[in-house]
Point group: C2
Chain length 228, copies 2
DNA sequence: AATCAAATTTAGGTCACCCTAACATTGGTG
DNA sequence: CACCAATGTTAGGGTGACCTAAATTTGATT
């Protein structure tokens, strides 16, 4: 048999765990108990317990003391939540006056309550977008997702022109700062200088010249080469 | 002191109980345990337990073996849920291709997840409507609600012209039937005949002539006199 | 006025999910 | 290579919300 029972509806908590593990475990790197606990604001012991139950349900693979990874079933469920979240964010920004720094919280709650049908109607109203307002890719209904490889602005060579494609943070204060300085997906950016050893990056956008700390620059993912 | 702690967030269950009790207890008539249980699809014993806790919290007034009524705090919370539900239904119908027979379920889940801010944005996008697609009045953000008194179509005298204002059922099959026969809020209806002893009502709308059983006719609330 | 069925409440149990405190494992360091 | 801090797990509780089964109360009816 393939895995657990096919269509038990998942609880809110389980959905959150799966999403967290999805975000924390990249390619072969399992998610750590403490990282999951930190992300979900829970005690590590609680995570261990839940992880055990979800392993038994076939949603994830747990090697004690090593970490957790999603099974195919778990990944499918997680991607569904990611799709919901990103469609919701897109919809709220496009139609209900949300800004990209305020939308996360609302989507975080709604993603557990919406039906598949509603998500698809929102997606349709948006023209089936492939990325959300932060530039994060939106999984298709079937769970496939095209994730392009971008270069952090902190690593773009001086003198190069790039297009900002994705902003990799959920922190509202940073997002607000970026938006105020014209650093949103689609923006054209020229790197005009950089200080060594993790120093600031100097850049020019249509909004003018500015300096950006290395940490922030690392959050801005850019398309190089011929802007396709 | 007035009542319980001011702003403990209510759980989904509690919100459902308050809404149920709101709908079941009209003017001085308390809601019965078994009716609440039936509406929420729970065992009566479970209702007794929850009702006890909510009484202690000051959200409702419970006279054992007699029934339950909302306190002002409870009514405020219930009306907030009613507003959410009806704004959501209105929004989904207006902007996301829902029909009035399919929208209830979706709103039922979303009403627990949306923020006040989102509801107000939806209300704004709708032009702050005072009734939902079924003609049910929408409470204002401050909890006030104007409930007009209408006449059931089953009691409109033969020969009279009325305007259909409100359809009082949540059952999808009936709603679909009504919609197919042009019986939606705003429709002009002429009562052309009626059989005695709970017999059917004959009526004419822009969609033509039709017969309607007394039960269904009782669900259609109409404005008589000069259509204001 | 005694009885009885329906409605309600109490008693005792389960499940999901969280917690703290105590114990176990792991993988560097001195 | 033995030790230790960090990390993870087990043990034991607690809460919210539900259940079934066994009282209890009510009020309508003989």
């Amino acid at each position: 048999m393939s895995s657990a029972a096919p269509h038990e509806t998942l609880t809110r908590s389980v959905e959150d765990y799966l999403k967290a593990i999805y975000h924390l475990s990249g390619a072969g790197t399992p998610a750590a108990t403490s990282d999951i606990a930190h992300l979900l604001d829970l005690a590590p012991a609680s995570v261990t317990g839940m992880v055990k139950r979800l392993s038994e349900q076939g949603l994830l693979e747990h090697v004690p003391y090593k970490g957790v990874e999603l099974t195919p079933a778990g990944r499918r469920a997680a991607l569904k939540m990611v799709r919901r979240h990103r469609i919701l964010e897109s919809y709220l920004v496009a139609f209900l006056e949300y800004t990209w720094d305020t939308v996360h919280e609302e989507a975080e709650r709604l993603e557990h309550a919406v039906s598949d049908a509603l998500i698809e109607r929102m997606a349709l109203a948006l023209g089936n977008p492939s990325v959300d307002p932060h530039g994060d890719p939106i999984p298709a209904p079937d769970g496939t997702m095209v994730e392009l490889v971008y270069t952090p602005l902190s690593e773009v060579p001086v003198g190069e022109s790039v297009e900002l494609r994705r902003v990799e943070t959920g922190q509202a204060d940073r997002l607000r700062y970026f938006a105020e300085h014209g650093l949103v997906p689609g923006a054209a950016v020229v790197v005009t200088g950089r200080q060594p050893f993790g120093g600031p990056v100097a850049l020019r956008t249509s909004a003018g010249e500015q300096l950006l700390g290395a940490e922030l620059a690392g959050l801005l993912l850019c398309a190089r080469g011929e802007v396709r």
